[in-house]
Symmetry: C2
Subunit: 437 residues, 2 copies
């Protein structure tokens, strides 16, 4: 390896790689999310990152193809998964005979999109998904359970969030009632981008679809409704007796009643008819959570009800409802905005520093302390002073100094690095002192 030409170490752009102290925070967030899912009896699933292209791209239009990492290995046409939903569909379809329904699974895993790298967009990112899949039917209480979990997750993450909820049948039914049943999708596409293009442009585009001015007014009035469930429900309840619309209202009432029974904080939810969600496959409840203090973050969690999870793979009807959190993007936003919880420099609680020939005693002490706390022995060939300085720089809360006198007396010098206090104590009392905190 002498005189070898060095290769400049670098990583692919668009890939997040955290320093370990930030990774600890990321991992803590993952744990909290998993804990909420598990409490609601969701079970973990870990599908492969690679799938057969034939399977993974069954449902995609041209759009996703450009983004997907796809390659051949031997004769096999392979893709890296670009979400966790298609692999779930494949898994449930493959195993529908042995799974018991409703099937509640969560998956926290990396997904891949080879799109053009840009700020805030990642090519590899962690998604935290939970879905409930029924066979033939799935009660509306499943939708409510997902909505309840959204609230609990952001509470666990200590991030005040607002979950904006709607139901696709409201606008589907209303378009139908106005006589635009066949134009529902293009109309919703326009309404969905009203925030971007502005009301005037939206009006113009709707007019091009031959929606009358009067009906445009009605649609814009309906989609402008947002607020508490009782308020919005009473405003729309008698708008039309279109069966789809009525179904939407009934489902919204049901999820609201269940959320209330569970004790969901009413300040953390709202009924917002402007929520549309682009994806075609949602068919009932839809929701998007935001952080009201940071509207510029956009949607930090979204999801909804779909009629049929795995229609490409099985004739079984598998309705489902789920939610998804793009944690890599959220973490990046929190980090950029100084909103992460305190970033520890290390995870060490106690640093033991040997003085003189006391390494083996230090190791015995380490064994004792590690039963309770994170403890490290600094056995580097460096001066005592340098080691103390290093412990300070790393913000390690406690240092234990172990010289030959300490070993002889079995009392050790415990230094609280934050206050500068120093105690001479037995190992048991050192541990007590540390755990007092």
């Amino acid at each position: 390896m002498t005189e070898q030409k060095l290769i400049t170490p670098r990583k692919l752009s668009g890939f997040m790689e955290l320093m370990p102290n930030k990774q600890i925070i990321f991992d803590n967030m993952v744990s909290k999310i998993k804990e909420v899912y598990a409490k609601h009896a969701f079970m973990p699933l870990d599908t492969p990152v690679l799938e057969l292209s034939e399977i993974l791209l069954a449902k995609s239009g041209g759009e996703i193809d450009k983004e997907v990492y796809r390659f051949n290995k031997g004769d096999t046409d392979i893709c890296m998964r670009y979400d966790l939903t298609v692999p779930l569909a494949r898994f449930v379809a493959m195993n529908s005979e042995v799974l018991s329904f409703p099937f509640k699974r969560y998956q926290v895993g990396k997904v891949y999109r080879g799109e053009r790298a840009q700020k805030g967009r990642f090519r590899e990112f962690v998604q935290c998904d939970a879905d409930i899949i029924g066979q033939d039917t799935l009660p509306i209480s499943a939708d409510a359970e997902c909505l309840i979990m959204v609230g609990q997750i952001f509470e666990a993450l200590n991030l005040p969030a607002l979950n904006r909820i709607s139901n696709r049948n409201i606008l589907f039914g209303y378009c139908e009632a106005l006589g635009y049943g066949e134009k529902t999708k293009p109309i919703l596409t326009i309404l969905d981008k009203i925030g971007k293009i502005g009301e005037e442009n939206a009006r113009a585009e709707l007019a091009l679809l031959e929606v009358s001015d009067e009906d445009i007014d009605k649609l814009l009035k309906l989609t402008s409704l947002k607020g508490s469930f009782p308020y919005v429900l009473s405003a729309i309840e008698n708008l039309t007796d279109n069966p789809l619309f009525v179904k939407g209202v009934t489902e919204l009432k049901a999820v609201y009643a269940i959320m209330k029974a569970y004790g969901v904080d009413e300040d953390k939810i709202c009924l917002d008819i402007s929520i549309i969600r682009g994806q075609d496959y949602y068919t009932g409840t839809i929701f998007e959570a935001i952080l009201p203090a940071h509207p510029e973050f956009g949607t930090v969690c979204g999801g909804g009800r779909y009629d049929n999870l795995a229609g490409y793979y099985t004739q079984k009807k598998l309705p489902g409802v789920g939610l998804s959190i793009g944690l890599t993007r959220l973490f990046d936003l929190l980090s950029q905005n100084g909103m992460l919880e305190d970033v520890p420099v290390t995870n060490i609680t106690l640093q033991i520093i040997p003085l003189g020939d006391t390494l083996l005693n230090c190791v015995a002490l380490q064994s004792f302390f590690q039963k309770e706390i994170v403890c490290d022995v600094n056995n580097e060939e460096r001066s005592f002073k340098a080691k103390m300085k290093d412990a300070g720089k790393k913000q390690i809360p406690y240092v234990l100094i172990v010289g030959e006198n300490e070993v002889a007396s079995q009392t050790y010098a415990l230094k609280n690095m934050a206050t500068g206090e120093q105690f001479n104590l037995s190992k048991e009392d050192c541990l007590k002192k540390i755990l007092e905190k």
Copy 2:
């Protein structure tokens, strides 16, 4: 989606995909391993699954190239990582100015090898690695810490393991002392495969390297030594005064002393001179753990000391020592041999079953119980009898039956599904009863 041709759902061969109840056990194993690493002050790292091919293949011979998943995206030549060590080297070389050394990191992540699928070989598998990287120097206590962790991990996993330890300098020095310094590597290659090819063939191959019969005897005698550290150390101590050999003995004595001071169970370690480990890069301590009750499992954990982690990327000298557990393979072996801990069918502790119009009351109860336990409401459109049967089939320990009378009296029928006992209790007493277990 009507009348559409179905695609048979299937996954790529060579990829493990567990049923969720087994995934819970897998995840528990991961947690236990991470806990040991974290207790020793290792910090988590999560490098991307994809790396630039130029970086990832810098050190590979031809062998790994065939196995690696490699593809182009636009102009970029990309590989999926085939281990966690090369990404670590890249990370440390990139960030050496900001990291503090010794740098202790663990990483649990999937790695990819597109080799021919065969029983027990996986193309995607989880590795659980921990490494300590020094700058310029790294004390031998780092090696001991890795050895200590191996023992703690298998204790945490409740798998009796034996860690077979050696030091490369022993055989390096001995070959040199016998006058075969330049043939050390081919000699070690032959000695390493003695278990596969048998002693006669090994002798013949060594003879082809022009090793004398007398020296072959000496080499085979040395590599046959295994047993307690004191026993083997006393047997080899005065074999030669070759400096490398003496260094090996000194290092083995040091790691043994530290392990003893820590309190490592002597029955779980041995000094075994036959341990060689194929990889070129090990330069000192080497080890391979096995499960003595299942020698056919082979090595379940291995690792060792290397002189220079990132010589391809930086001129800094970064010595390290680490260990690696191939968890996917180990889990598969445990599963095949019925050695997994009890596989729960679900993670549900309490299943609430509504009778009549009590869904909202059940949801309120679920909210109460979920503060402590995993609790699910079965709101399916099925008969009470079917739901009870389902709870039994899933081995859910407790069922709470909530009819209108129960709601009125605020006492609920709690059934212990294992014993068949049924209690009529307030929700608080139900919870107490369940937590008694």
